[in-house]
């Protein structure tokens, strides 16, 4: 049986570098994709991805398993995303109800357009940032609506709403 994330983090806090490596390998792919699809810019995504883990390392002495490790990890990721968007002059919440036109996405992908998967990806990229983030936290991080709310600093109803909107739009893209 695999050691839970929280136990690994506590072991790392005590100086067990191997525990961190296990933890890292367990979450590296999901977090990387979360970042990559949240901001759609590989260099920035990699930079933020690295920054999340550096913060985990630096915060090891203060870590207390009050919630799931995953919730804590994605809370750090969310805060960095907010900072990133703020620097870019974008607001995460204001994009909540704003639909970004699918046609404004990558034209090359539009040309390929008939492919179902491509449409799905375009629909995902076209989601408002908060909805996309909620969907990615759910799919990549495995977070529940309550955990999404905790990670993003919102309430559970708002998290559920964002998730529901995201699902509806993606479902529409699949049905096309």
């Amino acid at each position: 049986m695999e050691a839970p994330d929280e136990a690994l983090m506590l072991a790392y806090r005590r100086g067990d570098a191997g525990a961190f490596e296990t933890l890292y390998r367990r979450h590296r792919g999901a977090l990387y994709r979360f970042m990559l699809r949240a901001i759609k810019q590989r260099s920035s995504a990699e930079e933020l991805f690295q920054e999340v883990w550096i913060r985990v390392i630096e915060a090891r002495s203060r870590y207390a398993p009050q919630a799931r490790f995953t919730t804590w990890l994605y809370t750090i990721a969310h805060n960095l995303l907010v900072d990133h968007w703020r620097k870019k002059g974008l607001a995460l919440v204001s994009l909540d109800t704003q639909d970004v036109s699918v046609e404004s996405a990558n034209p090359a992908r539009q040309a390929e357009g008939r492919e179902s998967l491509a449409r799905f990806l375009q629909a995902l990229e076209a989601l408002p940032a908060a909805q996309r983030e909620a969907f990615l936290l759910h799919e990549e991080g495995g977070l529940t609506a309550a955990e999404i709310a905790a990670a993003t600093g919102s309430n559970e109803e708002a998290a559920k709403s964002r998730l529901r909107y995201a699902m509806a739009k993606l479902k529409a893209a699949l049905d096309d």
Binding site: Y12, E21, R28, L36, I57
Partner: protein, 255 residues
């Protein structure tokens, strides 16, 4: 989100068909190396000093050390030179003091302490203690280290005792003659009287001969002849070879 609907499962399925990107190997290596470095060292400080803040502590420590050294050097330089301060007084008195020291050394050997007065006067049982409680000798006396000076000091102590005793006897006779027994001070005050006199004499002994003579002349001028005579006798005892200037002698003779 405990139970997924078929639609949600379909969406999730389609999402997982997308490319499963992974972080590049270099990124993995950098993060794992950082984690190992951190595990080997102490936890990083909450606020890492950076930029100008890095220099605050060393600068503050250096400033404190420099300030402490500067203050110490300044205090050392500002301290008055005791040799320079006592030099003039010591110069005036040195010749007389050496001469007197020799005389006193002789006196100490030749003259035993006088016997207790036959008039029933009870001397202080601990004269040495009284001497010790008297004000300290001036610095110029303390500074001298010749054996003659030590003899001088001992002789002066003996003189103080003698003069003290004589003064008290004289005072008692004077009071008896004047019939002022009723106005005598309280026992507690009487007990303090010898100490006061000793202190006064010790104070006089700290003066230069010229100052002392001037004080005696002042007493004469004020009509305090008994006191002046007493001090003059004490002065002559203290400085037997001192030639009193005529100008002062004239003042003494004027009544």
């Amino acid at each position: 989100m405990t139970k997924r609907t078929p639609e949600e499962q379909q969406i999730s399925q389609r999402y997982r068909e997308l490319a499963r990107e992974e972080p590049p190997r270099a990124l993995d290596d950098a993060i794992l190396a950082a984690s190992r470095r951190a595990a080997e060292t102490r936890p990083a400080p909450l606020v890492v000093p950076s930029g100008r803040q890095r220099w605050y502590f060393p600068l503050a420590a250096a400033a404190i050390i420099v300030l402490a050294v500067a203050v110490t050097v300044h205090v050392e330089r500002e301290r008055p030179d005791e040799e320079a301060l006592v030099a003039p007084a010591a110069g005036v008195l040195s010749g007389m003091r050496t001469e007197k020291a020799q005389d006193m050394a002789k006196t100490e050997k030749a003259t035993p302490p006088p016997p207790v007065s036959a008039q029933g006067f009870t001397p202080d049982p601990k004269p040495q203690a009284r001497l010790e409680s008297a004000p300290a000798s001036p610095p110029q006396v303390m500074k001298e280290s010749q054996p003659a000076v030590a003899a001088d000091q001992r002789a002066r102590d003996v003189d103080l005792l003698d003069s003290d005793r004589l003064a008290r006897e004289r005072e008692m006779r004077r009071q008896a003659a004047a019939g002022v027994a009723a106005s005598r001070p309280a026992p507690a005050s009487r007990a303090d009287e010898p100490a006061r006199e000793t202190a006064a004499l010790a104070k006089l002994a700290q003066q230069s001969p010229e100052q002392w003579l001037q004080g005696i002349a002042d007493l004469k001028r004020q009509g305090r002849h008994d006191e002046a005579e007493k001090q003059l006798a004490e002065f002559r005892k203290r400085y037997p070879n001192y030639r009193i200037p005529e100008s002062i002698t004239e003042k003494f003779e004027k009544r």
